[in-house]
Symmetry: C3
Subunit: 416 residues, 3 copies
Amino acid sequence: MNEALFTANNVWMLVSTVLVFVMHLGFSTLEAGFVQRKNTVNILFKNAMIISIGLLTYCVVGFNLMYPGVNEGGFFGFAGFGLAMPEGAAGAIAYADGNYTYWTDFIFQGMFAATAATIVSGAVAERIKLNAFLIFATLFVAISYPITGMWKWGAGWLDAAGFYDFAGSTLVHAVGGWGALASVLLLGARKGKYTKDGIKPIPGHSMPLAAIGVFLLWFGWFGFNGGSVLSADPVAVSLVFVTTSLAASAGAVAAFFVSYALFKSHDLSMVLNGILGGLVGITAGADLMSPTDAILIGAIAGAVIPVSVVFFDRIKIDDPVGATSVHLVCGIWGTLAVGIFGAKAGLGQLWTQLYGTLSVGVFTFVFAFGLMYVLKATIGIRVSEEEEERGLDVAEHDMEAYEAGTVTEPGYQMVK
Amino acid sequence: MNEALFTANNVWMLVSTVLVFVMHLGFSTLEAGFVQRKNTVNILFKNAMIISIGLLTYCVVGFNLMYPGVNEGGFFGFAGFGLAMPEGAAGAIAYADGNYTYWTDFIFQGMFAATAATIVSGAVAERIKLNAFLIFATLFVAISYPITGMWKWGAGWLDAAGFYDFAGSTLVHAVGGWGALASVLLLGARKGKYTKDGIKPIPGHSMPLAAIGVFLLWFGWFGFNGGSVLSADPVAVSLVFVTTSLAASAGAVAAFFVSYALFKSHDLSMVLNGILGGLVGITAGADLMSPTDAILIGAIAGAVIPVSVVFFDRIKIDDPVGATSVHLVCGIWGTLAVGIFGAKAGLGQLWTQLYGTLSVGVFTFVFAFGLMYVLKATIGIRVSEEEEERGLDVAEHDMEAYEAGTVTEPGYQMVK
Amino acid sequence: MNEALFTANNVWMLVSTVLVFVMHLGFSTLEAGFVQRKNTVNILFKNAMIISIGLLTYCVVGFNLMYPGVNEGGFFGFAGFGLAMPEGAAGAIAYADGNYTYWTDFIFQGMFAATAATIVSGAVAERIKLNAFLIFATLFVAISYPITGMWKWGAGWLDAAGFYDFAGSTLVHAVGGWGALASVLLLGARKGKYTKDGIKPIPGHSMPLAAIGVFLLWFGWFGFNGGSVLSADPVAVSLVFVTTSLAASAGAVAAFFVSYALFKSHDLSMVLNGILGGLVGITAGADLMSPTDAILIGAIAGAVIPVSVVFFDRIKIDDPVGATSVHLVCGIWGTLAVGIFGAKAGLGQLWTQLYGTLSVGVFTFVFAFGLMYVLKATIGIRVSEEEEERGLDVAEHDMEAYEAGTVTEPGYQMVK
């Protein structure tokens, strides 16, 4: 046991944790920027709650569902409620082959967990009931995400089958995307989006917030992918930095050209989502690719974005932030790309990637659809038309996002 | 001396420094979001100046007041003006038992120092004179903060007495909170806040800025608490990450439920301040707590926030950002919690925690009140009613924060 | 070869990479804040493209132009297209004396490269054609920046001559500044800026965005300067943190006093640019200076900012964000300061610094002017008066930055 190497590895894992944490801010501002002004407080509120609920539930059940430490090659395992360092400080050193401590493992994985719910949050924005969403997010993060996560990262059946997903193109992003798709199908489109006269644009209220979000997500992705090496191994982490960045860059450039070809316009939201598409696409194989592979994977992801966004709009899947295109479509693409490019390319691997991502997708979609269906049948999942019209900020929060003047009064200030 | 371990430890301390630096951006956007649009430039200006003045004064006097290296167990010490590495590079290696260099120590502690003044800045926003505030902040950071800091962290009398404050629930947050309270008492409430017809809400002008601030503060807190281990010790730092994050999460969830119970509304500012309350609360004992302890400490802090905010409003302490509730009340709570939860719990410790936090509080309050009193009696601390009405941006800066059009002209552009 | 030390060094270089990446977000928000609302999407779009194009071109040609590994002491070298790790993982270990890997070197330097074009982007904002700018930025980053960079950092003739530029006061900042100056000379001022009745101010549309940008740039500068140590050497990196921070602080305070003396107003943009000026100023010699030296260098840089901004306005060089003052003037100042202050001070060094910065300046100015001239003569570099009046967001992007309502329709949403 080399104490200095252990310390250096653990420092990197903690830095990665901090970077993945920042992705929650990135999602918050991205989603806030892409919704209408009247729904801004609501989306910020949901994101502040998701990370908080996500970490707590991951502490109580999620971590031990995802890494049960038993039932290798299986579908399900559970190591019990709560956290306890194995054999104290001595256990921490022995944990993970001396690359990081038990606590590091928990907090790094915990930051990942809430991401899946955040992806849903964007797609269902501007019309979902707050309480229904919070219940959905809690159960989705506490139960669904760790179970499918265990299939691969917890040494479950997909891991045994040779499925590869380095940092979560499927396990995090497509999972979030399937949850988003199931929710939107039950929730329906925003009022006025799909009319008899065609598709009516509902532009976001702040492009600076959206752009800040994308840069912060890229920033955080250095920890998301770089930390998924699960050590500070210099060659592996630095290669992951290169492939991640080149894929993001290629995604932007491809989205630039494709969206210009399709729409004859330089659409900022396409370039921003192109960056995200490239990042999601490289995530499954970021450690396996050469720079050229990474550029190709990212470019294809970026090129897919404008086409996918139009496609979902045509079939009337209303997703205000493009989460299904970015996380679901590019998540599947990135998972398949492991079988096409890089060190593991091959028809057998491609097939394994396909049934791996579909298996996770089926479970997640069924879970999310079922859960949302129950919520719809009981407490209801959609705000009233009046509330949607007025905006969720006032309807759900009695607040406005910007310089409200005297129109609304924050709750506590009305207590006189 | 293990060079690699020294290097890894020092890297972590530098990363922590960078994270604590970002808290100044977090405070800037949080405070900017919670003030009215017409006072936005002013609050940004103050925050840009505070970090700059804070680092310079900490270099000139603060660091050597806080870590005099003499007078152990005492009330005051001073190691002279300015900085000088002890015995050159060799001294740097020997410094701090080989965990980090002299320069690292200075810059990490320097980032902490300015925080205390920043906390005051939020509470006195929207009506304090710029020059009075800058003089106050300079002396508060240069003299008051390092003296009480020395009592514990500089091996002074509170350290000798067994007082515990891991990362500054008292030494940083309550100190800032007492400074805020003293200042607000002398400054008075904003015009129109407390009227004959009751408490009139004055909502902040940008919830996205406020939410960005809270996420950035949480982000920075990984360095604030994680760096306070004063090495990269893997078990200690990773445990601190876990306790810090769980306390923040529990603070959010508790504030969610309590504020809904009290106000029947989902108030974003309460959840955001609940996160901050949880962070402040865990700070004194982040290295001593189990995950369960951390959740309880954070939840109590978060639950206290809505009650405290209403309380201060009832007694007409006008604090636009809730700094006294977050930093003073939760800072005291966190300090006491060391005697109630975790490795040091016990009645004796609780008593020590109580008189430690009160001693620091008395010194700080007297210093801040006295200083602000002198400023009030001499140059004045409050802008005129007309200036307050018009907003400090135009009154003090001849600028507007947003797309000013032709109404105002930045100073230099009027030089023709 | 000490594996743990190698790992710790490489972790620091990767953290620095992440921090320099964030500077691109800092530039984005700074520039967005300082332009008018109607040109916000355009500036965000350019910044998202610059980092993407910059990394791709640096991968294809830039890195091998800047570090050709041959032609020591020369003016030009090229190691061929694309990237390939020398001798696989074994080569990575041997690379850079075991301080970091080949991939780390590429990605750290790649983050620097795009910075130069970003500096230009601010100066030419609000009237340049998008396509012309993107072509300019691509060639500037792919060819001009790496060639002059090679002169010093690639062991070229300026390195042989004893020229010193630690982290790029000349090689990055002045290079960006000369590119900006050349471009603005050909592009001309914004309509309505310099009228018969004097200089008309065109205030930026969001001071919070500008302030966020400056804080993020300072944040990133810890990696920009701290990473330029090219290892995690504890004494060197921590000293660089101290000098960098003190120079930024002194820049703010000096700009505060000088701008008040000149304009009788507390101009936020001056303090913000004073911070940036201090940062640019210290960059050439951040590893050579004492704290006192750093404070003096930063203070002079900060004091120069208001004077320089007025000077450029007087000679009708219209630079919406002050990039020429911050990056060109303070970049030259910082380069010269290496001959005046600190470990290398001396008349011989000062002379070398002068002809070094001028040599780089002449090459860069000629390249940028020539390139922009060709673009002007062919595809044109300036939008029409109507487009400038209407704003580039609508003219180039068919979008508005904020809550557009029904006025404009994002391109893809018009596909029905």
